[in-house]
């Protein structure tokens, strides 16, 4: 089944296919009205998208499985070759989305005993409506921006995670998103609730094959981090170079909570993504570490937003951008320390590395500190691989490609240090493949 084009009728069709309750449909329709009212972002790269041509829904009508053997063999092979099936052994649980629907979900027995919930958002809406309603669209409202409104109208798939109080997972949970059709739009909606005194590491991966016409990935991720809890959300997006990746990610952090975004942007045609932390609780902490690599005809517009509301809150933004072969890797970020956020501090450090004269890397920081009792630091560097560096390295017998790679890997060393081991390896491999 396939739904192309955006109108009320199609939205009703999506909802009907999913056998949704009325409140969900109402939410979708209201969001669609919002979408029509809102304008595209007035900043950042140019977006050349015809919303009427996008495939808004596509599924294989096989439902959700927790056994790979029950999944279509071709698709199973595809995920096997992507290494997804193999990666399951490093995780406590894994979810896989293909086109519009989550096709696979599984987690270890122990988590069931711990009453951890890890399922698709649709399933959660049916099984745990009260829990979902309490947080859904409360952190990213459907009027937040045009693409969040679009996602709210047509969302399909995405993960729902609930970690009960006083629960720690030994290993991460992972979701993997795959777009496979040309002209496909993927609009997953993820909601993560880490209740008080708990910890979660969530890993997200995504890929798509390359087609000549554009695909759209417009996700919304909402996270609630409870008191004394920690959530780390790691992403490596390696979308094909025809994908518009326009994503709204936001976490609300309660007292003493910690939110960490670790974000790698390697693929896509255009990415606009600024993971946010709303540091509402006193003593809460937000971190966002981003690495973006933009190559030929790629535009990575990424960064972070830190909104300080509670007292003694602290945030760190580390952004590493690499631009090469005419690519554009831009940092765009915002730190807003509200009047109420006394004794807070924020550090923003963005470094960019430009590999040749056709490439670009800009920084658009907005830093606001509304109380004299708090402190905001901003540091930015731009470096270029210059001929002298390359000549020196080559004079020791290292070829140009390898020398460039060493310089790049050195540049992102900081980012690698922040990553858990198995993840660092993955990122290194991805980067090496790019070079």
């Amino acid at each position: 089944m396939e739904i192309v084009g955006l109108n009320e009728n199609n939205i009703r069709k999506i909802s009907k296919t999913k056998h949704e309750e009325q409140w969900v449909l109402d939410f979708r329709l209201k969001s669609y009205e919002m979408f029509k009212k809102l304008n595209m972002p007035d900043f950042g790269p140019k977006i050349d998208l015809d919303f009427d041509k996008v495939i808004y829904y596509k599924s294989l009508e096989k439902g959700l499985n927790s056994n790979w053997d029950k999944i279509d063999n071709n698709i199973k092979c595809e995920f096997a070759s992507l290494g997804v099936i193999d990666s399951e052994k490093y995780m406590d649980g894994i979810g896989v989305q293909y086109e519009s629907e989550v096709i696979y979900h599984n987690m270890i027995e122990e988590l069931v005993e711990k009453k951890v919930i890890f399922t698709s958002i649709e399933m959660a809406m049916k099984q745990y409506p009260d829990l979902v309603k309490k947080y859904f669209s409360k952190i990213v409202s459907n009027s937040d921006n045009k693409l969040a409104a679009l996602n709210s109208a047509v969302f399909s798939g995405g993960s729902f995670i609930y970690i009960p109080p006083n629960t720690t997972l030994d290993r991460p949970l992972q979701s993997y998103f795959r777009i496979n059709s040309r002209g496909m739009g993927q609009f997953e909606r993820t909601l993560i609730i880490v209740d008080d005194n708990s910890h979660l590491h969530y890993v997200e991966g995504c890929t798509a094959p390359t087609y000549s016409d554009s695909s759209l990935h417009a996700a919304v991720v909402e996270i609630y981090v409870g008191k004394n809890s920690t959530c780390r959300y790691s992403t490596v997006q390696n979308w094909a170079p025809n994908v518009y990746n326009l994503v709204t990610k936001r976490a609300l952090v309660d007292e003493n909570g910690t939110m960490e975004w670790i974000d790698g942007n390697i693929g896509s045609k255009v990415t606009m993504k600024y993971p946010a932390c709303i540091l509402k609780g006193d003593n809460s902490t937000g971190t966002c570490i981003t690495i973006s690599v933009a190559t030929h005809e790629q535009n990575q517009d990424s960064g972070a937003r830190m909104i300080h509301i509670g007292k003694n809150t602290s945030s760190t933004i580390i952004s590493k951008s690499i631009a090469r072969l005419g690519g554009n890797a831009t940092y765009r970020g915002k730190v807003d320390i509200k009047e109420s956020a006394i004794n807070s501090k924020s550090i923003v450090k963005c470094d960019s590395l430009i590999l040749d004269k056709d490439s670009k890397s800009d920084a658009y920081p907005t830093n606001v500190c509304r109380t004299s009792k708090s402190n905001l630091e901003h540091e930015a560097t731009v470096s270029r691989i210059n001929e002298d560096n390359l000549f020196y390295m080559m004079s020791r017998g290292i070829d140009e490609e390898k020398a460039t790679e060493l310089i790049i890997l050195g540049f992102i060393e900081k980012f690698r240090e922040e990553l858990p081991m198995e993840y660092a390896v993955e990122l290194n491999q991805l980067l090496k493949r790019m070079l």
């Binding site: 470096s383 000549f391 020196y392 390295m393 017998g397 070829d399 060493l406 890997l409 050195g410 540049f411």
Partner: protein, 252 residues
């Protein structure tokens, strides 16, 4: 081993090397002395195929083959090593990573970690470096003298057959110069076929690493060649001395 024939080199329309000729045989040690700006460092960069310099005519033959037109890394892997006059720093790239990569580029199979660590520690000690420098970025925050020592560290690990020392002595204190020269001599001791070209302004380094030939270079060419003693003559009378200049014909 290295033979430079009638080399003319330009940079940005400025002639720097004019009919430069030099022949260095296996195991020989040569020295070049010449005033500032005469083209000594240019010569070493041209030998390494630096793209900023345009070779107008002439040839550079290394081990019987022309190396003109080869890429810098290819030339280096053929066995030529230049210890630069002003070594640059490279942010983010660790010495160990840098050296390991350079070593591996010359080998079929990657060097074992144990072997590498053992070797590098040995050499670091020999040069009086503190061990933690291995994990520092290449020359970042390093003093002038430390950079020179790092050049020699690289040299001893990469095992070149032809070495150019471009003003190795500048920036090194008396004790360090001695230590560094001892390390080089030890290397030459065990690599008898290796040839050396020492570029310097002062004979002191030549007292440690004794050349068989000393060349005087003025305005982009060698104007006089002599033995070890020429270095002291030059130190005494400088380059403008007519008796030295007048001997240009002898050289031809």
């Amino acid at each position: 081993m290295l033979s430079i024939k009638k080399l003319f080199v330009k940079v940005k329309d400025k002639n720097i090397l004019n009919d430069f000729n030099l022949d260095i045989k296996e195991g020989e040690i040569h020295a070049i002395m010449g005033p500032n700006g005469t083209g000594k460092s240019t010569l070493s960069k041209v030998i390494l195929g630096n793209k900023n310099y345009e070779v107008v005519s002439g040839d550079i033959i290394f081990k019987k083959e022309s190396i003109l037109g080869l890429k810098t890394d290819e030339i280096a892997r053929k066995g030529i090593f230049v210890a630069f006059q002003n070594p640059i720093s490279i942010e983010g790239v660790q010495n160990s990573e840098f050296l390991k990569t350079a070593i591996n580029e010359r080998r079929e199979n990657a060097i074992g970690l144990f072997e590498f660590v053992k070797e590098i520690k040995e050499k670091v000690k020999e040069l009086d470096f503190s061990e933690e420098m291995i994990h520092r970025a290449v020359n970042v925050g390093a003093s002038g003298g430390e950079r020179k020592k790092n050049e020699v560290l690289q040299l001893s690990l990469l095992e070149p057959e032809f070495i150019i020392l471009d003003e190795l002595d500048s920036g090194l204190d008396i004790d360090s110069l001695k230590k560094v020269c001892e390390a080089i001599n030890k290397y030459l001791e065990s690599h008898k076929k290796t040839s050396v070209l020492i570029i310097t302004h002062y004979p002191r380094i030549l007292e440690y690493i004794k050349p068989q030939f000393v060349h005087m270079m003025v305005c982009g060419k060698i104007v006089k060649t002599g033995d070890y003693n020429l270095a002291f003559e030059i130190e005494k009378s400088g380059y403008s001395d007519t008796s030295v200049m007048g001997s240009e014909k002898e050289n031809e």
